[in-house]
């Protein structure tokens, strides 16, 4: 699934994130994963992979209002991995 | 049936309810308890007729909570009980005072044993609320109306210290609506919530801890100090008392509420015997009229503190006088078998006897006045 074109994307307010990781299992296409980056408060941050559908589940489950969700008018073909069916 | 200004015989409970309605009170909530119950009955009957609401609360805790909510929306609201019920209300009384919400609370007390509860805040924390003690139904009618004005003027609760006799005595009164606001205009209730500022960035939070929208954290020091400063201003402005025959008095009797009426009759008899006795009647129990008491006691040999309890107001009398003149208690615990405060002390002759003892420097009997 993570090789599907991104139909949506998110903006993450990294400063406000508390690294609770609730967004990870909430994402239906499983395109959120924890990164190794930390914010100024020391919390580990999530990162987004290709294949977001813009469903907004992450926004619903984030306790710190860290997500802004967009749906792309055209699937972002340029962001898919190349050449693998 | 709307309130009539015609003078007629009215039981105190009814007169007080009518006075509150004349002052614009449109919300009341209460729980039955003697001798407060009839006040609830009258509000229950009359408020719906005036487009208001009266709730039979499930306990005194909810009675004051409901009055809190009503007052927070800007309505003139009241509740009440007797001393025990007031005890239950104290956490809310404290917080309502901090939230600067105007309400009027009636203690139809069982005697005078609730003086400490009324004047020392009664609940947790640093606060006092304004306490007014009428001595008659007629005075209660005026004080009730003034209480709503003062509560709005200061954004502060006002407690009215009534009792069984005021509740159940019928006097000929007329409930004339008194206009306080023309001479003392009230600020608009911008702080009250009505929903309308939702979503504007200026919505309100009527709260007792200094929470502010749009910022984390609170500053209780600043918030509580501001309340204390306001109470200092109230204390300077709202002292009320009556002084009779104090100019030449050698003995000054200090008494409040219904008991003061009996003291008046006693003093009349003592004066007729040639004893120079005066009466100082605090009408505001908080702020206690200390400076006026000092002036009234000037030249007296002795001050006799007359109260129907084990000795509570005497603390404030002694604090005011600071040892400048001896203070002796001439009251005591005195109630009826049901504990409603109809004690043997409520007798002009008995009071005169005790005052006579104090006047002549004789030992005044201590203990139960039966």
């Amino acid at each position: 699934m993570s090789r599907a074109p991104s139909r949506g994307t998110v903006v993450i307010d990294a400063a406000r994130c508390k690294g609770c990781e609730l967004c990870i299992p909430a994402c239906p296409p499983r395109v959120l994963r924890m990164s190794a980056r930390r914010n100024a408060s020391g919390y580990l941050l999530p990162e987004l992979l290709e294949g977001c559908t813009g469903c907004g589940a992450c926004l619903l489950v984030c306790p710190d209002f860290c997500f802004e969700v967009y749906q792309l008018d055209a699937p972002d073909a340029a962001k898919t991995t190349g050449g693998i069916a | 049936m709307t309130a009539s200004t015609e003078r007629r015989l009215m039981e105190g409970s009814e007169a007080i309810a009518e006075a509150a309605i004349a002052a614009g009170c449109r919300f009341f909530s209460g729980y039955p308890m003697t001798p407060f119950t009839e006040l609830l009955e009258h509000f229950a009957r009359r408020l719906p007729e005036e487009g208001g609401a009266c709730i039979n609360a499930e306990s005194e805790l909810e009675a004051i909570g409901q009055a809190w909510g009503a007052a927070a929306t800007g309505a003139r609201a009241a509740t009440g009980s007797t001393g025990q019920g007031l005890s239950l209300m104290q956490e809310s009384m404290s917080e309502i005072t901090r939230a600067e919400i105007p309400i009027v609370v009636f203690n139809m007390a069982r005697g005078q044993g609730d003086y400490y509860q009324a004047t020392r805040g009664g609940g947790h924390g640093d606060y006092r609320h304004i306490v007014l003690a009428p001595e008659s139904v007629g005075e209660a009618v005026r004080i009730t109306q003034e209480a709503f004005h003062l509560a709005d003027r200061w954004r502060h609760p006002v407690l009215i210290y009534g009792d069984y006799l005021i509740a159940h005595t019928a006097e000929a009164v007329s409930i004339e609506p008194i206009d306080f606001a023309t001479k003392d205009p009230l600020p608009p209730k911008d702080w009250a919530v009505d929903g309308r500022l939702g979503g504007t960035g200026r919505s309100r939070n009527v709260n007792p801890i200094g929470m502010e929208k749009g910022s984390k954290g609170i500053d209780p020091n600043r918030f509580w100090q501001a309340l204390s400063d306001k109470e200092d201003r109230i204390a300077a402005a709202e002292q009320r008392w009556e002084a009779i025959g104090t100019e030449d008095a050698e003995l000054l009797i200090v008494a409040f509420g219904t008991l003061a009426r009996f003291a008046r009759a006693a003093i009349r008899d003592l004066r007729a015997e040639g004893l120079r006795v005066g009466l100082f009647r605090p009408i505001s129990l908080w702020p206690f009229p200390s400076e006026a008491l000092v002036r009234a006691a000037a030249g007296c040999r002795r001050v006799a503190c007359l109260e129907q309890n084990a000795g509570q107001m005497i603390d404030d009398v002694r604090l005011a006088l600071l040892g400048s003149v001896p203070v002796v208690p001439i009251g005591g615990i005195s109630t009826d078998p049901a504990g409603f405060g109809i004690g043997a002390l409520l007798d002009a002759e008995r009071i005169a006897g005790r005052a006579r003892d104090a006047y002549h420097g004789r030992e005044v009997p201590r203990g139960v006045v039966a």
């Binding site: 909430a26 919390y43 290709e50 860290c66 802004e68 | 919300f27 984390k216």
Partner: protein, 279 residues
């Protein structure tokens, strides 16, 4: 870490492209959801990582706005961790004492019947301290909506047993797990209130996953609508995560909520239009 979750569906050797998330997309797009609900002044708060209460708050505020009640809503807030969220909420509020929000809401509604009155209370607040208040407010059919944030603990004091704590749940004052012989049984407040004639709408939801959050929103919409129709008392109980008060890792919060609390305090609509729902 969740490293093991990111390899699904990708064949060996595929690079996983990380998408930048620090700015909105440059191409043509529609914003589907903003950071904070519009009835909020800011998003910063000091509640714990993984706390479920802000999830419920978002749905409450969005529901009020969608129903056109932003300029008519008055919230009465109890005392608990959620009290701190009042700084964020851009609706008129009255701060009440622990357990005492229903009576304050009652007085306010009687004087402002045109307003949408709701309470926001935790389980310690509503079901311990304020049990009498909420029951009588419901029995009288007061036309207000009481909202319960139920995480089965007193969160603000550090994780102590409440009337809704489930049997076996460890808290600081039931450290071996709630034992019926020592600590009695939990109170299922939604079920209790549904049986009172004054209640019109009663529902219980849970924010342990996105579907649960969406369901929470639907129940809130129905509860507020019930108040707007003047049907009587409405009640929404929202189960929320409290990993701190449950002494579990944050990421295990949703699973614990669904499994442990959800098994006892069952999600669903218990009463609609004044009629008990067959369950």
């Amino acid at each position: 870490m969740s490293g093991d979750r990111d390899a699904e569906g990708v064949g060996a050797g595929d690079p996983l492209r990380v998408v930048p998330t620090d700015a909105p997309p440059s191409g043509a797009c529609r914003r589907k959801g903003s950071f904070t609900p519009s009835l909020t002044l800011m998003g910063e708060h000091d509640l714990c990582p993984g706390c479920g209460e802000p999830l419920a708050l978002r749905q409450i505020l969005d529901s009020i706005e969608a129903l056109g009640q932003a300029q008519r809503a008055i919230g009465v807030v109890g005392i608990g961790c959620y009290t701190a969220l009042t700084s964020l909420m851009d609706v008129d509020l009255i701060q009440a004492l622990h357990g005492r929000a229903p009576s304050v809401a009652t007085g306010a509604k009687r004087m402002r019947p045109e307003c949408l009155l709701f309470t926001l209370q935790g389980d310690g607040d509503m079901v311990n301290e304020g049990l009498q208040e909420v029951i009588h407010t419901a029995a009288r059919g007061e036309n207000v909506t009481c909202i319960l944030l139920n995480n089965g603990v007193f969160g603000e004091t550090g994780g102590h047993m409440t009337a809704t704590t489930v049997l076996g749940q460890r808290t600081k004052n039931s450290i071996e797990g709630r034992d019926a012989r020592l600590h009695g049984h939990p109170i299922l407040i939604g079920d209790l209130l549904a049986r009172l004639d004054g209640t019109a709408y009663v529902a219980r939801a849970s924010v342990h996953d996105a579907a649960g959050v969406a369901r929470t929103r639907r129940f809130l919409d129905r509860a507020f609508t019930s108040q707007l129709k003047g049907q009587g008392f409405s009640f929404v109980e929202i189960l929320t995560m409290c990993p701190t008060g449950w002494f579990i890792p944050t990421a295990e919060g949703p699973g614990y909520l669904d499994r442990e609390l959800g098994a006892v305090h069952e999600v669903g609509e218990l009463k609609k239009d004044g009629v008990l729902v067959e369950r």
